[in-house]
Structure formats: C-alpha cells, structure tokens
Point group: C2
C-alpha cells in the first residue's frame, strides 16, 4: 500500500473515531440533468447511446418528471418540469438547451449527516428531508456551501 | 419481466443487430466538477464528507490539474486550470464558485463509437481521441449535440 493510501486511510479512521461522525458517505446514486424535451433526451441515451432507459415518472412533490438512465454502476436522472412552480423551470430559463443539475450522494443516516454537516456550516435547503424518486429520504445542500454544485443526499 | 423491460431489451437487441453498431456503452467513469480552489474542494470531500480523495495530478495536454474522489461505484473528478489556455479558466469566468463541468461515459471501442455517433450528427470536439487522465483514449462531444451536457467518452 502506498504512503498516500496509508495516509488517506489514517485520515478516514481519525474521522470515524471522532465523536461527531455517526454516518458514512456511500456511492454516487445518480447525476441529474435538466432537459427541455424528455422524449428527445430519452431517445439520445436509449437509441443513440444504447443505454437502458426507464419510462417517465411524475413526482409532483418535487415538481419534476424523472427518467432514469441505467449505466450499470450508477444512473443518470433526466429531469423535466412538472407544474408551475417546478425548480427545473427556473434552471431551463437560464439554460434553455438543458444542462447538469445536481449530483446525488448516498448516506447511511441522513439525519446524522445533516447534523454533522451543520457543524461545518453546510445547511440543507429544506428544514426536513423529503421522500425522493426512490421512495427514500432525500435532502438538498445549497451550491454555495458545496463548491458551486447542488448536492442531493439520499438515505440508501 | 415487465412488458416495458421486454420492450426495452428488444430495442437494445435491435440496435445490436443493426449494421452500424460495433461498440457498447459502459459505466459512468466520472462526473467532473470545475473548482476555483483545489485544496478547499478536496477538503470538502475528504474531511467533511469522508470520501477517499487522491492527490492532485497535472495533465498539461488537457490544461488541468485533476483530483479524483473515489465513491466506490464511480468517481468525481475535480478540475482546476493549468496554464494560460486551460478550458477550465473560461468555465470559471462564467461560474467563479465552480460547478459541474462534464460527465464521462465508458465505451469499449472509441473509434467505432465516434463513427456511429457521426451518423446521428453528434461530432467530437477534437478530430482524434487524446490520452486522458487514466492513460486511456478520450474524446469530448459538444454540449449542443448532447442536450446541453459536455460528454467525455473514454475507451475502458
């Protein structure tokens, strides 16, 4: 094992042993892309790139239609506005051709993750986690706290 | 198996049997994030989120410093400008806090993928693939052809 990897593991061990860490970061659940035309975007991934693409599912609580592109190790989530107050509408006004919207990271305990992140001045956008696309608790962290990236946490 | 999955598999089979398909899409190799401060971004993923984070590597041919965040199933690539003509400098001028830059999809044969994509009017930005961060051939596809998303293909 290289000196770097030993050092890196020592850091992770030190973090695990510290009193405020009672949660673990997991895998990249998905990367989300906002699209102005859901059928056209689905066709790009399905018919041109040959990926396994789901049907569209409406999530009224989040103001989106979602389509998942299964890439084997993780997924791309295609997002299209649903309803008048969809957060995707504002995004598409700025980027009419669509674009990368957020990344979703899995955590094993979302409430403990939120508590821990607050001690680093990283606050969730909504006060409480909501049920997300997979029927699991999710919460969004503001891009200004996460290097310009909207980060969704999902309890896996 | 649901009717949808049967239909989806039939599509993939039809695509495989068509004469122009001699390549396969693979996994999401990484999602890339441009960052104005590489050490600060590394610290967020390493010390706050507890991920396994690599040291910085310079890639002068691509005009970037890269750091990889290993998430188990895939990676986040943090990108920082290297040199005066770095493509990341222009990106950070528009988004000074940083942001999501591209996704990288694996393919089993990059030249056959490029040939096939050209028949769908999706053209690579550079005429020929270059050697990328993992010592493998990579090519970038223009966002205007890919629903607003800069897509890197890597021969895995």
């Amino acid at each position: 094992m290289s000196r770097f990897r030993l050092f890196s593991r020592a850091r992770v061990l030190a973090r695990c042993l510290s009193s405020d860490v009672a949660w673990r970061l997991g895998r990249l659940n998905h990367v989300a892309i906002a699209v102005p035309d859901l059928e056209k975007a689905s066709a790009l991934y399905r018919d041109v790139l040959g990926a396994d693409v789901s049907q569209s599912v409406a999530l009224p609580d989040h103001g989106v239609y979602t389509v998942f592109v299964n890439l084997g190790n993780t997924k791309i989530e295609l997002l299209h506005p649903l309803g008048e107050n969809s957060p995707i509408s504002a995004f598409l006004k700025k980027k009419p051709s669509g674009g990368m919207h957020h990344i979703c990271l899995e955590v094993d305990n979302i409430n403990k993750a939120i508590e821990s992140l607050k001690t680093h001045d990283i606050k969730p956008i909504d006060a409480q986690p909501k049920i997300g696309a997979h029927g699991k608790l999710v919460v969004f962290l503001h891009p200004k706290d996460c290097g310009g990236v909207l980060v969704e946490l999902e309890e896996a």
